[in-house]
Amino acid sequence: MRDQVRVVVAEDLFLIRDGLVRMLTEHGFTVVAAVDNGPALRRALAEDRPDVAVVDVRLPPTFTDEGLQAAIHARRQRPGFPVLVLSQYVEQLYARELLADGAGAVGYLLKDRVSNTGQFIDAVESVAGGGIAMDPQVVAKLLTRGDARGRTAELSPREREVLSLIAAGRSNAAIAHQLTISASAVTKHIAGIFGKLHLPESEDDNRRVLAVLAYLHR
């Protein structure tokens, strides 16, 4: 099934680009283009029409946030186009910009996370499927911020864990497995989170995460 998922990879360091392509191909994705600079990325996104893009924030020729800009531009052209952004740093500002359109299908991870192959592939899959994969650092900072404003103080430690894992792109089943609790317990915790943050209920998992992230970002 994954071989029908067409991926564009943009990363300027050969070693990492090569590693990413290998990893994705090994796990059954089809890499349609692997580019090393901003203009080539924009071309690939427009011409190859991939299903998901894995993009490094900093790319030549400017070595600034060329990759991020290209990703945001592509999402403006194709709302909800799945993008997984990788970077040596995670910035709350960039996370907020990626989430701003509320369309989901966004991932933002530290490059180090690539070393955990299983989780990285899960993240690509989740994003390609319209989900969210936020780096634990982004979520941790959002929660501290929420605490400082007295918004998340009421969440129990378990609910915090669940929230972080959802934001990181894990499915309910994966969360249940990781925390060794039942799937229905996960659902209950999620309902609890929404109740305590006074957010409207929604059936769509993805919407729910976006609502929480938007709330914490405010």
């Binding site: 900093r58 946030d65 970077s87 910035e91 709350q92 530290l110 180090d112 400082a148 970002h217």
Partner: protein, 405 residues
């Protein structure tokens, strides 16, 4: 309006001051002459400091009419040093020339309204008495010999008051400007001061950079470098154990991966302290917005910049704001902070205003001093207004060029 009515009063003050000035100048010159016989050594410094008090008052008066004059004096206090100081003799020169050149402006600013008041309010009542006493009764060109001519003098008097009040402030400013030419720093003193500042800020900045490099070296040596050595060793051991004890090898690999992640974390923190990624990517405004998002305070950022300042200026202002926000969250007991960036007339300003308890003391803590020396390299300044009970307002100003975006 207030300046207009204050002008005659100020003019009077200036006139009195120039009378005092000439007296003190004579004293200075006399005590300088006494230096030859030795007694002057003890009298001269007091005479000079007295003269400086007079000139300080003149500077203050000039400031009141809108001409700021900087004090040009150096650190010298000894009799001989004061005798040699150019500023001493410029002060004397001012005191001597002031009554000659400056007086007319003050006299007009004071005299015209006064004479006008005389014509309007006094003359009509006294001209008859004057005439009886045989005095000449004239008001300007009008020869007052009857009630009619006395009344005719009233509009002339009113016009004189109006004219005097109208040109008064201008005259005083003109006068203050010439005062500034002698009492302000001369080109040489100004340049001397400039050189002093440059030497000071240069050595500060070199020291700060050297300290920064030492810190980076230490962090790399004790942090990432050490961890990479550990990673290498772990990988080597894992390679050796690969065949005979795969389980142990796997454990070593996991440890190595963890160490590499830690090394990356440390490198990230290090780079963030040297040059934050958002600052490099987007410039000052977005970098400060990123700071705001990382802060636990409610930080509202507004920025109106036509482009980007040079990277060193951006970096200095960024780290200054970083420090200020950290201070605020640590000490001020504030909840909300406003940061406003603006660029006008070649000066980048950054206001940081919190709603905390105030009482920030620049003398305490190295943070504010650090900001001061960081900005001083660019002739930038930090002004702190933090009364007890708050709020604290801090303004950073850095003169700089901006490349338009």
């Amino acid at each position: 309006m207030r300046t207009r009515f204050a002008a005659p009063v100020r003019a009077l003050a200036m006139l009195c001051l120039s009378v005092v000035g000439i007296g003190v100048a004579v004293l200075v010159v006399a005590s300088a002459a006494l230096m030859l016989v030795g007694v002057g050594r003890y009298v001269f410094p007091s005479a000079v400091s007295l003269l400086r008090r007079v000139t300080d008052a003149a500077r203050w008066l000039a400031g009141r009419v809108g001409v700021e004059i900087e004090r040009p004096y150096g650190p010298e206090t000894g009799a001989v040093a004061l005798l040699k100081a150019r500023t001493t003799w410029r002060d004397v020169l001012w005191a001597v020339l002031e009554p000659i050149i400056g007086t007319w402006a003050a006299a007009l600013a004071l005299g015209m309204p006064l004479y006008g008041v005389y014509g309007v309010a006094v003359q009509p009542f006294v001209w008859q008495a004057n005439a009886r006493a045989g005095g000449a009764n004239a008001y300007g060109v009008i020869h007052v010999t009857s009630t009619a001519t006395a009344l005719a003098a009233i509009p002339v008097g009113l016009a004189l008051i109006a004219l005097g009040l109208y040109i008064g402030p201008k005259l005083l400013r003109l006068r203050a400007r010439w005062t500034g030419a002698l009492l302000g720093p001369s080109r040489t003193t100004a340049l001397e001061h400039r050189v002093e500042t440059l030497v000071e800020t240069r050595s500060d900045s070199v020291d700060a950079q050297a300290a920064e490099l030492r810190r980076i070296e230490r962090d790399l040596h004790d942090g990432a470098q050490a961890r990479l050595v550990a990673v290498g060793m772990g990988l080597g051991n894992a390679e050796r154990l690969f065949d005979e004890d795969p389980a142990a090898a796997r454990e070593l690999l996991a440890v190595a991966r963890e160490a590499s992640a830690k090394a990356l974390d440390e490198l990230r923190d290090l780079v963030r302290g040297v040059h934050p990624p958002v600052l490099a990517d987007r410039g000052l405004a977005d970098a400060i917005r990123a700071l705001a998002l990382d802060s636990l305070l409610d930080v509202d950022v507004s920025a109106e910049l036509p482009g980007r300042p040079t990277p060193p200026v951006e970096s200095a202002v960024y780290f200054a704001v970083n420090e200020l926000l950290a201070n605020t969250s640590k000490h001020a007991g504030a909840v909300a902070v406003r940061v406003a960036l603006d660029y006008r007339n070649g000066v980048l300003t950054c206001d940081v205003v919190d709603d905390g308890g105030g009482g920030a003391d620049p003398a305490r803590g190295t943070g504010l001093r650090g900001i001061h020396s960081r900005l001083a390299v660019f002739d930038g300044t930090i002004a702190i207004h933090s009364p007890l009970g708050g709020p604290t307002r801090i303004r950073l100003e850095v003169p700089c060029a901006i490349r338009s975006a």
